[in-house]
Amino acid sequence: MSKKELDINQIIKISDLNIWLNSSHVLKDIYLSFKEKMITGIIGPSGGGKTTLLRSINRINDTTPGFKIKGSILFEGKDIYSSTIILHQLRQRIGMIFQKPCVLPRSIYENVIFGIKMTKRKKKKVLKMIAEEKLMDANLWDEVKDRLSHSAIGLSLGQQQRLCIARALAVEPKVILMDEPTSSLDPISSLAIEDMILKLKERYTVIVVTHNINQAYKISDYVVFISDGRVIENGIKEEFFNNPRDDATQRYICCSSNDYWRKKGLT
């Protein structure tokens, strides 16, 4: 098991993390760090603890019954589980995209500004500008610019997910957590979102949990393999996929899907 840690630009640092959900030991002795403005992909078999890990980073797990945590998660040097942390302020800096897009039954515009309307109290003109900017970042502007006042429920699932991403971007977080963002979507929508994630790297740190090895290969700079609650292996993408050190890693990335990423090859 590798405890490889990068020394520079560690925006999130996880040390000796152990998590229990209802007395089931879900995550064991996790040591990880995430570099700023990089995309980290977390892969691994179902039930291995990937989603639990992700959800602990913005503390959405706090309300899950039976949640118990030991160890530390540092965000910009501060322990996010310390009692001095204000939850909603933390979550304005660490945003999250869920597997199933969840839009409110209101207009598209209302949905985009939902996160900032109450919390940041800006003028209407500014809100409109932000909405347009973030919809463009999310690759959705062209499709909805003429119908911002229409209900968001009428959008396709892929469009709704991009709307959720625009909504999260509007809050201007530093880190964006994505929990299998394309697993509910068709291949074309998934492709659009993958392309968008690649562009996000310029301004945000992204951590993506995914079941799709091809996707992980395509978008990640850095890959983490979690199985049965432990980090089996982690590393820079090229090293990880070309020379996996662990047998389990080798088996996982080779037996899943059709090695498409391998055929693409590395120069």
């Binding site: 979550r91 869920f98 429920i153």
Partner: protein, 281 residues
């Protein structure tokens, strides 16, 4: 072959049981309507009651009922909403169990006890006297459990992803309640309110001696005046068994009361089924 027969017999049994229930209800309705319809005409609905109910109509009784249950709704809704939100969001599980118990216990209190309590507490101790205000307060207290339970059901049926999405955007607890929880539960809130009002509209014992009087009252001019309501009017007329015209008027008032309550109950059912504010794909 035997299984098919058993199946058919079972369906037959269920159908006859259901039919019994429906027929009982229909019989009551038909009985009341047959006895009461002769009394109903435009004059009945739009004039005041005269000659101890033998003449005239029930206009002020109808208005009195509307006034007193509106007051009950205004009192009960904020308290019910606040209680439901507090129970749902802020207290720990053991306290929640206790408060649940108390709400169900409140629901089981006999209506005459509410009447006595209203008389002693609102009318005497708080000095409100025999007034429609006392009546609204006691009716409001009585319908609290109905509304609270409906709102809580609505809260519980909201998929957790809605709240998680709002939390993930950095909204504070109160902001999530205000912008997601309550708006998405609006149909449950309105349904609960209408059900509560329907119940309040039919109650006699709680307001019999705290809020109403039979004669000499049209519309109240202040908070401290009593009203006359449909159920208490029916009670009075029913006791005048000697005068058949009065009795028929009593039946007529019963018909109006039933229609009044049915409108509210059916509206609450329509709102619950048609105006669900969560749309899933």
């Amino acid at each position: 072959m035997l299984r098919i027969i058993k199946d058919k017999l079972f369906v037959l049994l269920l159908a006859s049981i259901a039919l019994t229930g429906i027929l009982t209800l229909a019989t009551i309705f038909i009985f009341i309507f047959v006895k009461g319809l002769p009394a109903i005409d435009i004059e009945f609905l739009t004039t005041e009651s005269r000659d101890f109910g033998a003449q005239g109509g029930i206009l002020y009784q109808l208005l009195g009922s509307i006034i007193i249950i509106s007051g009950a709704g205004v009192v009960a809704l904020p308290i019910a909403l606040g209680t439901a939100v507090y129970q749902y969001e802020y207290i720990n599980p053991s306290l929640r169990r206790i408060s649940n118990l108390m709400i169900y216990a409140l629901n089981g209190v006999p209506s005459i006890i509410f009447g006595l309590f209203g008389l002693v507490f609102f009318a005497h101790n708080l000095g409100l006297g025999i007034s429609w205000l006392s009546g609204s307060l006691i009716l409001g207290t009585m319908i609290l459990p109905t509304i609270i339970v409906s709102i809580k059901e609505s809260f519980d049926s909201l998929p957790v992803i809605y709240k998680e999405s709002a939390w993930a955007l950095g909204l504070s607890r109160w902001q999530v309640i205000r912008s997601v929880l309550i708006p998405q539960s609006l149909s449950g809130i309105i349904t609960g309110l209408l059900l509560g009002l329907a119940r309040a509209g039919g109650e006699t014992a709680p307001i019999m001696f705290t809020a109403t009087c039979f004669s000499g009252v049209l519309l109240p001019h202040s908070f401290s005046e009593p009203v006359t309501t449909l159920p208490t009017h029916i009670l009075y007329l029913a006791q005048e068994a000697s005068n058949p015209v009065t009795l028929t008027n009593g039946w007529g008032a019963s018909v109006v009361l039933i229609i009044f309550i049915c409108i509210m109950s059916i509206s609450s059912m329509i709102i619950r089924t048609r105006f669900k504010t969560i749309v899933t794909r």
